[in-house]
């Protein structure tokens, strides 16, 4: 990194040119993914060893190793992408490095066996952009994923980073920034989908009327289980979040900003801290941002593991060192938020998108997505949205797609469909506040409003795909169970109502459901939804309501026939060994924790139902698919 001298707006181009020129001197750059998923597969060691080997070989002047944030295709990590050709290596281990070095870097021939093979077509793809997974994506918030080193501010600048901020500060017109954000139509990516520009406008107005300095806050709590976009954005490109906050702060007249981030995200936390430090040393944060006289700085607050702290008022309580209990929202945060000052809270992805909007213009952004947002941000959903595409799907990972894309395109084109010969059953969106969408709605063009109409939510962007081995009653029970735990307990409908839901759902899953349970569930959901204090309780009923709406027959089967067609609800299933495929290999005998399986070599084994605790290990170890669940 360059010296700690303060950078002026005019210098940004020079830094970018210098860094790009230095990159240009290399024959190739090896982008090693160091996102959390790949790190769990030892990608730090891969990065370091690769650099060491290249140095040892004396070719360090020709090849640069860069540790990047999450590439997106986490399912096949650890990933190395060799740029500029874009050769995509997957599932790389330490042992493969010599081969990459000798055969590819020196010999010029990609290592075939590390390339990605499309499981559906069997085709081997050399280059990253040939892979279906990346095909339909359009990157805005994640524009720098896999391309830059998140721990090096120069990389961000080289990709045009902080130029938007420079432009905004030079123009010096906060109102114009707000107008631009409103015109772009961008709606909050954190769940609610409230137009960001309108929020900023109210914040600026409230601050002006009361003569107070407002705050900007970034919500990086991401408590939604099954979603990790925010973590990835911070891990891959922390500076874009800072730049977005800087632009927002300038538009609002804020001098202090806060980022509320989960402590469970250690890598993101470290990268964020580093980014803030570097931005300070460059003078992008501090008393005189880019030499413009505008002063702004950012500090971090760490969350301590409570889903409800993602809720805006609870988040601010938590930032004040109190328990995260929401308050009624007839007083808005934009008027009385953190420390009772006007406060604008936006999600990580929202902030990360702002610099691009300022750079490329509102009308460009508005042209992507659904509806015509030119006159009214509520009229559609503009731009792109990042989703974590996970669950029972071939290509899991992080994707960013334009609003209005259909679920089918995401799940079958990008995601590669359902693996293991199973069939699609539902996709869960919006986390615990969202719902399950069935196959009949696969052609739904997703945006904020269409998902709400379908009884779900955009939420923060988790897309959890479920195959036919998923029990929808169990999924509803699971979410309610989660929410009972996470309810802060301040208001009765949520605290007691969810608990009542949980008891009924558990009963149904045990096969003890009764006639009338379904109607009672509906009634209870109505009351909880209508009377809870905060959105946690109000939307908590969505998982139940949506499964009741689309999968009612499964509830009825559980109640009437005591049957779980997906084979999930333990009390309703038995494990059995099918005679035909069983080869009598003895493999399942030892792992069974209760010695419930008896058998001799080459003879069909039998499970003793009395002893079986339905742990499913036998099914896992059987290589002949002989264990079935009925």
């Amino acid at each position: 990194m360059a010296s700690a001298c303060k950078v002026k707006a005019g210098d940004l181009g020079k830094i970018a040119d210098r860094v790009n020129a230095s990159f240009g001197r290399y024959k190739a750059m090896l982008m090693v993914c160091t996102g959390t998923a790949c790190v769990s597969a030892r990608s730090f060691s891969i990065r370091d060893r690769l650099a060491l080997k290249i140095a040892e070989k004396g070719i360090a002047d020709d090849y640069l190793v860069v540790g990047t944030g999450c590439n997106g295709f986490c399912a096949v990590g650890p990933i190395i992408v060799v740029q500029p050709e874009g050769v995509f290596y997957q599932r790389v281990t330490d042992k493969d490095l010599d081969e990459i070095l000798e055969q590819h870097l020196v010999g010029g021939k990609p290592v075939e066996r590390l390339l990605y093979e499309d499981p559906a077509t069997g085709k081997v793809h050399t280059r990253m952009d040939e892979i279906e997974f990346f095909g339909k994506q359009q990157l805005i918030a994640l524009r720098n994923k896999g391309i830059i080193d998140p721990e090096n501010i120069d990389h961000y600048i080289a990709r045009g980073g902080y130029a938007a901020l420079g432009k905004v500060l030079e123009a010096g017109d906060p109102e114009a920034v707000i107008r631009e954000v409103i015109d772009s139509g961008i709606r909050g990516r954190g769940g609610g989908g409230f137009p960001a520009g309108i929020k900023w406008q109210s914040g600026r107005r409230a601050a002006g009327e009361r003569g107070e300095v407002p705050y900007v806050v970034c919500n990086a709590d991401e408590g939604d289980p099954g979603a990790y976009m925010d973590r990835s954005i911070i891990e891959t490109d922390p500076h874009t979040v800072l730049e977005g906050m800087l632009i927002g702060a300038f538009a609002l007249g804020a001098r202090e900003g806060f980022i509320y981030i989960r402590k469970e995200y250690p890598l993101a936390l470290v990268r964020l801290e580093k980014a803030i430090e570097q931005a300070r040393s460059y003078g992008f944060l501090g008393p005189d941002v880019l030499g413009s006289g505008f002063a702004f700085d950012v500090s971090i607050h760490r969350g301590a593991g409570a889903f409800v702290c993602g809720e805006s008022t609870a988040l601010m309580a938590s930032m004040s060192g109190r328990v995260g209990e929401p308050r009624a929202k007839y007083v808005h945060n934009v008027e009385y938020g953190y420390r009772d000052r006007p406060t604008v809270l936006n999600n990580v992805e929202t902030w990360a998108t702002i610099p691009v909007i300022m750079d490329r213009g509102a009308s460009w952004f508005a042209s992507i997505g659904t509806g015509d947002v030119a006159g009214d941000p509520w009229a559609g959903s503009s731009g792109t949205k990042a989703f974590s595409l996970v669950g029972n799907i071939a290509n899991t990972g992080l994707v960013e797609v334009p609003m209005g894309i259909t679920l089918r395109e995401i799940i079958f084109d990008i995601g590669g469909g359902i693996p293991n010969g199973r069939s699609f059953k539902a996709v869960q969106t919006g986390g615990p506040s969202g719902g399950c969408i069935p196959a009949s709605k696969l052609d739904l063009e997703i945006d904020f409003d269409s998902l709400s109409e379908a009884g779900s939510m955009m939420g923060s962007g988790g897309l959890i795909v479920m195959d036919d081995q998923t029990c929808m009653v169990d999924v509803a029970r699971y979410f309610i169970d989660f929410l009972v735990d996470e309810s802060c307990g301040k208001c009765t409908p949520c605290r007691e109502g969810l608990f009542a839901l949980k008891r009924i759902l558990e009963r149904i899953c045990r096969g003890e459901g009764e006639e009338g349970d379904v109607q009672f569930l509906e009634e209870l959901c109505g009351t909880i939804g209508a009377t809870s204090l905060c959105q946690l309780g109000a939307t908590a009923v969505n998982p139940v309501m949506s499964t009741l709406r689309y999968f009612r027959e499964e509830y009825e089967e559980h109640i009437r026939d005591h049957r779980c067609r997906a084979g999930v609800c333990k009390e309703l299933i038995t494990y059995r060994i099918v005679a035909d495929p069983c080869t009598g290999c003895l493999a399942c005998l030892k792992p069974c924790p209760t010695q419930a399986i008896t058998g001799e070599k080459k003879k069909v084994h039998v499970i003793d139902e009395e002893k079986c605790i339905k742990c499913g290990i036998c099914r896992e170890v059987c290589t002949f698919d002989a264990v079935e669940v009925v």
Partner: protein, 427 residues
């Protein structure tokens, strides 16, 4: 540490009586002693608490009335020297288990009705008396000059001093005496001052002001024993003040052996408190500039350091940030990141987030429970492992995910767990 003003009034004290007493262990809420002070004769006497007293009168108002019964007859008037002022808290006094367990019951013959009255007061008087070694206190007689009565549980001394220079007004008097009897600022929390004030010299409805030290504001504040004019009786005995000081650490006792109580207040808590490195906790608080807004961050660091939030740590954080202990405990029990009992050396987190759930995390969790022989949330008896179910570790693409200490492991199958734990154990 006493200021010049306080030193001057202390020097003017003339000792009239001094006794020493041994500390008494608490047994099931009783110290089994009563202290009787006669300010007319300048004498003091320790009386036993009999089993019959406990069975019939339990404590609090019951003890007070029993003691009164010994002292008075039909001829005793409110201003007779024999009219005793009795103070007592019950067997639960000084525990934090129940609301109101800190109350002190006060009785005397009322100047307003000329019959026995009772009133109760907050603050820490009753509990401090108990910690000093007495279930109840009675004061009889009438002093000839203004006196201050002191019961000091930290030194085991009781004294009656002629005290001419102290203020009469409670708000000044409590400040003076709190300062006089505390050895340092921190120690002020252990002092409670009972006084009546000037008005009680003139009216029959004088109240008793019972001070407790509000260490966040740095001043003593008051609770009142108000009913029936007990303050007037107090002044009639020419007592300026009664000072009770608790020993630095309250003697431990259990109210009763009880399954629920032992679950919530297990020995592990005491052990954790003893082990706490107070200096390290202070360093953490300093690192966050003693800023109450960062109380959660401080507690996270404490949790990382000690693997739990001990009572001693809460004490330190509270003292140095000014955040009340109640709020810190609220935080410690609200957020998942904290535990009041020590967690294991290695924490095994089984993700049960949505993706992992769909991919069979529930079965993984059960397998871990079986393998470790503890249930979710528990810690192995040897303190090596704790098992947690967490919602989403942010690696959903690798579901189901397990985190062993700092190591994230993806695509876990139940059948691997036995081997995984074997490796961990041998480490």
């Amino acid at each position: 540490m006493a200021s010049e003003h306080v030193a001057r009034i202390r020097d003017a004290h003339e000792n009239l009586a001094r006794y020493t007493f041994e500390p008494a262990p608490l047994q099931r809420g009783y110290s089994n002693r009563v202290i009787r002070i006669d300010v007319g004769k300048n004498s003091m006497e320790i009386l036993p608490v009999t089993q019959q007293m406990k069975d019939l009168w339990i404590g609090g108002k019951g003890f007070d009335l029993w003691l009164m019964l010994q002292e008075i007859d039909s001829g005793t008037r409110w201003d007779s020297p024999e009219n005793p002022i009795c103070f007592s808290s019950g067997p639960l006094g000084g525990t934090t288990s129940f609301p109101g367990a800190g109350k002190t019951l006060v009785t005397a013959i009322s100047p307003l009705t000329d019959s026995i009255m009772d009133c109760n007061v907050g603050g820490y008087l009753g509990p401090y008396l108990k910690f000093a070694g007495f279930d109840a206190l009675e004061i009889v007689g009438k002093a000839s000059d203004e006196v201050v009565v002191v019961i000091d549980g930290s030194t085991g001394e009781m004294s009656i001093d002629r005290a001419p220079l102290e203020s009469i007004d409670s708000h000044l008097l409590a400040e003076e005496l709190t300062e006089m009897y505390a050895v340092n600022e921190h120690d002020k929390r252990n002092v409670t001052v009972v006084s009546a004030g000037r008005a009680a010299d003139h009216v029959r409805m004088g109240v008793l002001n019972v001070s407790f030290y509000d260490w966040r504001r740095g001043i003593p504040r008051f609770k009142q024993a108000g009913r029936g004019g007990v303050g007037t009786v107090f002044r009639d005995k020419k007592i300026k003040a009664l000072v009770v000081k608790a020993p630095e650490s309250p003697p431990p006792w259990k109210v009763a052996e009880n399954k629920v109580a032992s679950h919530f207040a297990s020995d592990k808590l005491d052990l954790a408190a003893e082990r706490t490195d107070r200096e390290a906790v202070r360093a953490i608080v300093r690192k966050w500039n003693c800023d109450p807004e960062y109380a959660i961050e401080m507690m996270q660091d404490v949790q990382d350091l000690e693997r739990c939030i001990s009572m001693a740590a809460v004490d330190e954080v509270s003292l140095r940030t000014g955040v009340s202990k109640a709020r810190l405990y609220h935080i410690a029990t609200f957020y998942k990141a904290f535990s009041l009992e020590p967690r294991g050396e290695t924490i095994i987190q089984v993700c049960v987030g949505t993706t992992c759930h769909v991919k069979g995390a529930a079965r993984l969790l059960e397998t871990f429970e079986r393998e470790l022989d503890i249930s979710e949330g528990g810690t192995t008896p040897d303190g090596r492992f704790s098992l947690d179910a967490v919602a989403c570790l942010g690696c959903c693409s690798l579901a189901p995910v397990v985190k062993l200490g700092d190591e994230v492991i993806g695509n876990v199958q139940s059948k691997q767990i036995a081997r995984m734990m074997k490796k961990q154990r041998s480490n």
